[in-house]
Amino acid sequence: MNINIWLLIGLMALVTFTIRYALFARANAVTLPAKLERALKYSAPCVLTAIWVPAVMMPQGELAITLNNPYLVGAAVAIAIALWKKNVLLTIVTSMLCFFLYKWLVL
């Protein structure tokens, strides 16, 4: 390996912690504009969606909208259950079960 891994871990820890803590550190001095606060409620759903959609639609790096893609099938199950039951645990357990059964038994 041609880079210093421990130096990398130290720097990654530094930037990660700085991002998370910077606003907390000066929490008394920082007031967010009301508009920004309203925009922020869209942040978590949008960020997480930007992570999981490519993960299930292009698991090998290329678009795979086909029944041969177990990630897509599992995600469809997860979406249906999450919208229907609004229960995170049930969504995770059921869709993972469907994903593995489909991957091992069907494909």
């Binding site: 990660t16 869209y42 942040s43 994903f99």
Partner: protein, 236 residues
């Protein structure tokens, strides 16, 4: 409800459990992938315990395996983790009364799952000034489970061939879907999330995960602007 620190802490642990179910397989796959990328056991443990950032850990390990230079990996870490700044901003009103000895660990623990599990408690339990105990409970539980999962991954990665191809990474997608879907209750949120979804696919091949940042910001902008438009129509 009982608002003692102890009961809030344990309510946090319980509220973290669904997300831990999704996080553990993801942590296991991380442990195995890190070894495959050439890290040793202690470096893998170091990433999970000192950095504590699932998505960024995955990106970094992929880049290490590809021989990417140190500066680029740190840059990618910043971009992938920028969303935590957004979480910090939304929690800001709830932590500003706390001393630094609280804000330090709470900041360190601020990941997707912890935010998703503790933020609703701030909204439903507004009367309490002790909600940081719930936050700490969620964070502690998730931190422990993530590191235990990494250890399991290190062990299995060294002993079971092909575990990296089992598809354990689906757990992350299942978790995020479970966290996002309950938010889709009005037009602005649906439009914002759909924007992020489509752009994330279109921008996926851009280098250094920059597509993730573009998609997220565009989705937020669409949601916010549509909310403004609808509010104006209703008032006129």
């Amino acid at each position: 409800m009982n608002n003692s620190p102890k009961s809030l802490f344990f309510k946090g642990v319980v509220d973290a459990l669904p997300l831990i179910v999704g996080g553990v397989p993801f942590g296991i796959i991380f442990g195995t992938l890190a070894l495959n990328a050439g890290l040793d056991m202690w470096q893998t443990i170091g990433l999970s315990s000192i950095v504590f950032a699932g998505s960024a850990q995955f990106v970094a390990v992929g880049m290490i395996a590809a021989g990417t230079s140190l500066g680029f990996i740190v840059g990618a870490t910043i971009i992938v983790n920028l969303r935590h700044l957004i979480y910090a901003a939304s929690l800001l009103p709830h932590v500003k009364h706390l001393p630094q000895r609280w804000r330090l660990p709470l900041g360190f623990l601020l990941i997707d799952e912890v935010y998703a599990a503790t933020y609703p408690n701030y909204l439903t339990n507004q009367g309490s000034t002790k909600n940081h105990w719930h936050y700490l409970g969620v964070g502690t539980a998730f931190y422990c489970s993530w590191n235990v999962a990494t250890l399991i991954g290190i062990f299995f990665g060294a002993n079971i061939d092909g575990i990296a191809n089992w598809g354990l990474d689906f757990a992350m997608s299942a978790t995020f879907i479970g966290m996002v879907m309950p938010h889709l209750i009005n037009k602005p949120m649906i439009a914002g999330v759909l924007t992020s979804a489509i752009l994330a696919v279109l921008t996926y091949t851009l280098p250094h995960k920059i597509g993730l940042v573009i998609s997220a910001i565009a989705g937020m902008a669409v949601g916010y602007l549509l909310e403004q438009v609808i509010a104006q129509k209703e008032s006129s």
